[in-house]
C-alpha cells in the first residue's frame, strides 16, 4: 500500500451557527486519484480552501507528507508541493498560455528571486511550462493570450499551470465547471490520459458523476459538511445514504 500523502483529521469550519465543514477526516495515498463529491453546499470548495490555507479552520488539522500545514499561508503551502486550480477560471488574460505556464513553473524555481539576468531561470521555467502544456494538449495554443482561449482550453490551462509546478498533490476544483457537454467530454478524455501517464496524486472536486467515475480511484462523499461515505466508486454508487443525499440517486 502506498504511503499516505495527505492526512486530514477532524477538519471543521464554522461561520457562527453555520457549519460549512463538519469534522472531515480523510487519508489520500500517493498516486491515488480521490474525488470529493456531494450535493450543492456540501462544503467541497470550503474543504479545499481549508486544505490550501485560503480559509483558516475552526478546528482539526491537515498534514502533508508528514508535516503539519494547517496554519500556513497559501503561498507557503504551494511551496510545499500542493498546487490547486479554482472553480472560477483565474488566469493572466493578457499573457500567452506559455507565459502563464512559465510564471507558474517559475514559482518553484529556487532562484526565482533573481532580479537581474536569470536567463537560466527563464529557460527551465519555459521548459517546464511547455511540457505541462503538452501534457494537457495545449501546445497548439501556446502563443495565444490566455483570455482568448476557449473556455475548455482555459480550464485545461489552469490544470497545466498547476502541473508546471511539479506538485506532489494536485487539487482540482471542478475542472469541468461551466463547460458544455462536448467540451466536458473532451476535457475528461485529456485529463484521463494525462492522469494515466503522470501517476500523480490528485484530489478532485466534481459535480459531474460521469467525470468522477471516469477519473477517480476512490470517492469521498460530503453531505452538509460531513463525510457520509468514503469508498471505491462501485461501492459508493450502491450506497443508500449517498443515493438519499442526492435525492433521486446517482445513475
Amino acid at each position: 500500500m502506498a504511503e499516505v500523502l495527505l492526512q486530514v483529521e477532524g477538519l471543521s469550519k464554522r461561520y457562527g451557527a453555520l457549519v460549512a465543514v463538519d469534522s472531515v477526516s480523510m487519508h489520500v495515498r500517493k498516486g491515488e486519484v480521490r474525488a470529493v463529491i456531494g450535493p450543492n453546499g456540501a462544503g467541497k470548495t470550503t474543504l479545499f480552501h481549508l486544505i490550501t490555507g485560503v480559509v483558516p479552520p475552526t478546528s482539526g488539522s491537515v498534514r502533508f507528507g508528514g508535516s503539519d500545514i494547517t496554519r500556513l499561508a497559501p503561498h507557503a503551502i504551494c511551496q510545499r508541493g500542493l498546487s490547486r486550480t479554482f472553480q472560477l477560471t483565474s488566469l493572466f488574460p493578457r499573457m500567452s498560455a506559455r507565459e502563464n505556464a512559465m510564471l507558474a513553473a517559475q514559482a518553484r524555481h529556487p532562484r526565482r528571486w533573481t532580479p537581474f539576468g536569470g536567463a537560466d531561470v527563464f529557460t527551465s521555467a519555459r521548459a517546464a511550462g511547455e511540457e505541462a502544456l503538452a501534457q494537457l494538449g495545449l501546445s497548439h495554443v501556446a502563443d495565444r493570450p490566455a483570455g482568448l482561449l476557449s473556455h475548455g482550453d482555459q480550464r485545461l490551462l489552469e490544470v497545466a499551470m498547476a502541473m508546471a509546478q511539479h506538485p506532489e498533490l494536485l487539487l482540482l476544483d471542478e475542472p469541468t465547471q461551466g463547460l458544455s457537454v462536448e467540451e466536458t467530454a473532451q476535457a475528461v478524455e485529456t485529463l484521463a490520459q494525462f492522469l494515466d501517464k503522470a501517476h500523480i496524486t490528485v484530489l478532485l472536486v466534481e459535480h459531474d458523476m460521469e467525470v468522477v467515475f471516469r477519473l477517480a480511484h476512490r470517492i469521498t462523499v460530503l453531505h452538509r459538511g460531513a463525510v457520509i461515505a468514503d469508498d471505491v466508486p462501485e461501492a459508493v454508487k450502491a450506497n443508500a445514504r449517498v443515493q438519499e443525499a442526492y435525492l433521486g440517486g446517482i445513475e
Binding site: 488566469l91 493578457r94 510564471l103 514559482a107 532562484r111 533573481t114
Partner: protein, 323 residues
Amino acid sequence: MQKTNPLPALGGFAVICLLIAAPFGLPVFAMTLLTELIILGLFAMSLDLMVGYANLVSFGHAAAYGLGAYASGYMLLNSAMPLPVVVLLAALLTGSVAIGVGWVCTLATGVSFSMLTLAFAQLLYAIAFKWTSVTGGSDGLAGIPRRAGPFSITIFTSKTGFYYFALACLIGAYLLCRALVRSPFGLVLRGIRENEAKTLVLGYNTRLYKITVIAIAYALGGLAGALYAPFAGFANTELLFWLLSGQALIMVIVGGQGTLIGPILGAAFFMLLEHQLSSYTEAWALFFGLIFIAFVLFAPEGIWGLARRAFRRGRAPAEAHHG
C-alpha cells in the same frame, strides 16, 4: 524565433549620443533646463516602477524626493564627503526607509494603500517643518554646495560636470529598471499586476515582491531628490508637498505608464508646458491637471503608449502582437 527589432536600440543610442554632445552645442540656460529634465525624468521613471509595473498607485512619491534632497543637502552642508558619495548615500537611505514604509503600506491594498502612501508623505512633511535643527524648518536648507570629489576631482562642481553625473545616474537607473522588469522578478510583477490573487496562489509571496519594488522605486526617487538639492542649491518643504507627488503621477500617466521611457517624456511635457505657458498665464499647472484628466479618460496609455501603438500598426501584422 523572434526577430529582434534593431530600431529601438539604435534610436536609444542616438538619443544618448545627442545627450552626451549637448553641452557642446546648447547655451547655458538650455543646459540648466536639460539637467532639470534629467532629474525630473528620473523622479517620474522611479514612480513608474511602482505604478506601471506593479499597480501600486502612490500619492506620496514626493516623500522619496524630499527625503533624498534633505539627506543629500544636509550631508553636503555638514560633512566633507564628495558629491557622488553623498548622492548615492542619500538614495540608499531613502531606499532603506522605504522598506519600512512599504512594509506598512502593503498591509492594505487598493485605495487604502494609496492613502497610506499619502499619509506617510504628510508625516514627513510635518516632520520637516518641526525638526528645524536638521531641516531648517519652513525655510529649508539653503546654500547647498556641489562638493568636489576625492583626489581634488572638481568635475562635479561645474555645471557641465554635474550634468554628466546626473545623466549617468539617469542612464544607470534606466538600465537597472529595464533589467529588473525583464528578469524573472519582473515576470512576477506582471503577474501581480494582472491577477495578484492568482500570483499568490501560485506560491509567490506577493507582499515581499511589492515591498521590494517600493524600496527600489523610493531609492531611485531619492536619487533624483539627492541630485536636485545640489542642482538647485536648496531643499525645502515644497519638495515633500502632495502637489509634487501629484505632478509626478501625472507625468507617469500622461507620458505612458509601464514603459519607463514614457514618464521621462511626461516630465519633458510637464517642463515644456511650465516654461512655455508660464509666460502667458499662471494657470499652467491647472491646464496640466486638466490634460491629465483628459488622458485618463481618453488615452490611458499615455503619449509613449500611443506612439508605440501607432508605430506597431505601421509594421507587419505578424509582429503586431509582440511587446
